[in-house]
Symmetry: C2
Subunit: 237 residues, 2 copies
C-alpha cells in the first residue's frame, strides 16, 4: 500500500459515535417533558430513514437536498410514528437536527488520524453538509487536512460520483486514495469508483443489541479494528 | 465584532510569502543551468499575469481553468519574454508550477491562526485549486478548520460568487463572516458580497523595492499588522 497518497475517511459511525451523540442530544432536549421517551429507538428509526432518502436523490427521483433537510424530514416522520409529535415544536426539532453537529469521536479516532496524517493527506469524505462537517470536526478536535462533503458535487455516497469528485479535487487517480469506512455500502461504492478500501470495524456503531456491519460481509484491501491499527498497518506496508 | 462566527483567510501573500517561496523554487530548478537567471523578476512577471487571467474567466470570456493551468500558461509566456524558453522542458515547467504548492508562512501565521481558531471557525478561502491548497496547508502546517477553493464554485475572487459560495457552504449570512486579506481587490470583493473585512498588511509581499497594498487604499472593518494582532483585536471586540 505504499502508493496510497491520500486517505478519505467516513465520519458518521466510522470516526464518530453518532448513536451515543444523537441519543444524548435527544435526552437533553426531552429532559423537561413529562414523557417516557425512547431516545435509542427514536435515534435508530431516524437513522434507518437515511440511506433510502439518499438513494432517492442519487437516482434522480428527487432533487438535491442537504443532509440537514433529510434529517429534518425523517425526524418529523419518526416523531409522528412514536406519538411524540405534539411534544416538539419547530425550534426544538431544529435543535434535534443539530444534535448531529456534536458527536463524540471513537476512542482511537484522534490519535489514529494524527498517525495517518504523518505520511498521508487525510480528508473527511462524508454525506454530511459542509457546514455540519466543519462544525462537527472542529468541536470534536479531529485533525483532518481538509473536508470534502457530498454537498460539493450534489451526489451522495455510495454513488461513484461522490468518490470520483474527491479524487478530482485531490488531483489523484482513484487508486491512490484509500477509503476508510465502517459500512459495507460505503466500501462497495468506493471500490466501484476505483478507490482502495479499508474497513474499520465499529461493533458498537448501531448501539446495543444491534449488529454492526462487518468486514467479512464485503471485499476490501485492508481490515482494522481502529484507526491506530490501520495507521500501523500502512506503515508496515 | 462579536457577531463574527467564521473567518475566511486568503492564502497567497496573506498567509504565506508566495514570492520568497516561488523565487526559491525557481532558483532550485535553474541551479544546474548555465544561465544568469533573474528569478525575482520572473516571479514578479509571472504573478502579474494572474489577476488578468482570473478576470477573463470571471467575465465569462473564457471557460473555467484551474489556477495550475493559469500558472502554466503565464509561465510559458514569461519564459519566452525573458529568453529562457529553450532552457526549460515540459517536466521542468511542471515542477516550476508546483513551486506554488510549497510556500513559507509569514512569521505570525501559525500562532495567529491558532489564536483565531479558539473562538471562530477559520477556513482558507483562496483562488488556489483544492489539491494545491490542501498540500500547501499541510506542508506549511497551517491549522485551518477547512479549505474552500474557488474551484468548488468555478468563480474566482474578487467575483462575489466566490465569497457567497463560501457563506452558503458555511451556512452563514455573509455578514457573520470576516474576510482576512492583504490585497485591496480581495477586500473590495468580499465587501461587495456582504462579508466583513480585515486588512492584514504584508509590506514585503511583493518583494524588495515594490509597494504592497495598504489598508488605507480601501475600506475595511479592521486593520492589523499580523494574524496575532488581528486575533487580539477580535478578542477585545
Amino acid at each position: 500500500m505504499r502508493e496510497i497518497e491520500a486517505i478519505a475517511v467516513d465520519i458518521f459511525g466510522t470516526t464518530v459515535d453518532w448513536r451515543t451523540g444523537v441519543v444524548d442530544g435527544l435526552h437533553r432536549l426531552a429532559a423537561d417533558k413529562d414523557l417516557s421517551f425512547g431516545a435509542g429507538a427514536l435515534a435508530d428509526a431516524w437513522r434507518e430513514r437515511y440511506l433510502p432518502a439518499v438513494a432517492q436523490i442519487n437516482s434522480g427521483e428527487r432533487a438535491w437536498a442537504n443532509l440537514d433537510t433529510i434529517h429534518a424530514e425523517a425526524l418529523d416522520e419518526c416523531l409522528d410514528l412514536f406519538g411524540y409529535s405534539e411534544h416538539f415544536g419547530a425550534a426544538e426539532r431544529e435543535e434535534m437536527v443539530r444534535a448531529w453537529y456534536v458527536l463524540p469521536p471513537w476512542r482511537d479516532s484522534l490519535d489514529g488520524l494524527r498517525k495517518l496524517r504523518e505520511n498521508h493527506i487525510v480528508v473527511a469524505l462524508s454525506n454530511g453538509g459542509f457546514a455540519l462537517l466543519t462544525r462537527l470536526i472542529k468541536t470534536a478536535g479531529l485533525p483532518f487536512d481538509a473536508v470534502i462533503s457530498a454537498e460539493n458535487v450534489q451526489a451522495y455516497k455510495p454513488d461513484v460520483r461522490a468518490y470520483r469528485h474527491a479524487a478530482r479535487l485531490l488531483d489523484l487517480p482513484p487508486d491512490r486514495i484509500l477509503m476508510v469506512a465502517a459500512h459495507t455500502w460505503d466500501i462497495d461504492g468506493a471500490r466501484a469508483a476505483g478507490l482502495r478500501t479499508a474497513f474499520v470495524e465499529r461493533p458498537d456503531e448501531k448501539g446495543p443489541g444491534r449488529t454492526a456491519d462487518r468486514a467479512e460481509d464485503t471485499t476490501c484491501d485492508l481490515t482494522a479494528q481502529s484507526f491506530t491499527e490501520l495507521a500501523d498497518a500502512l506503515v508496515r506496508g
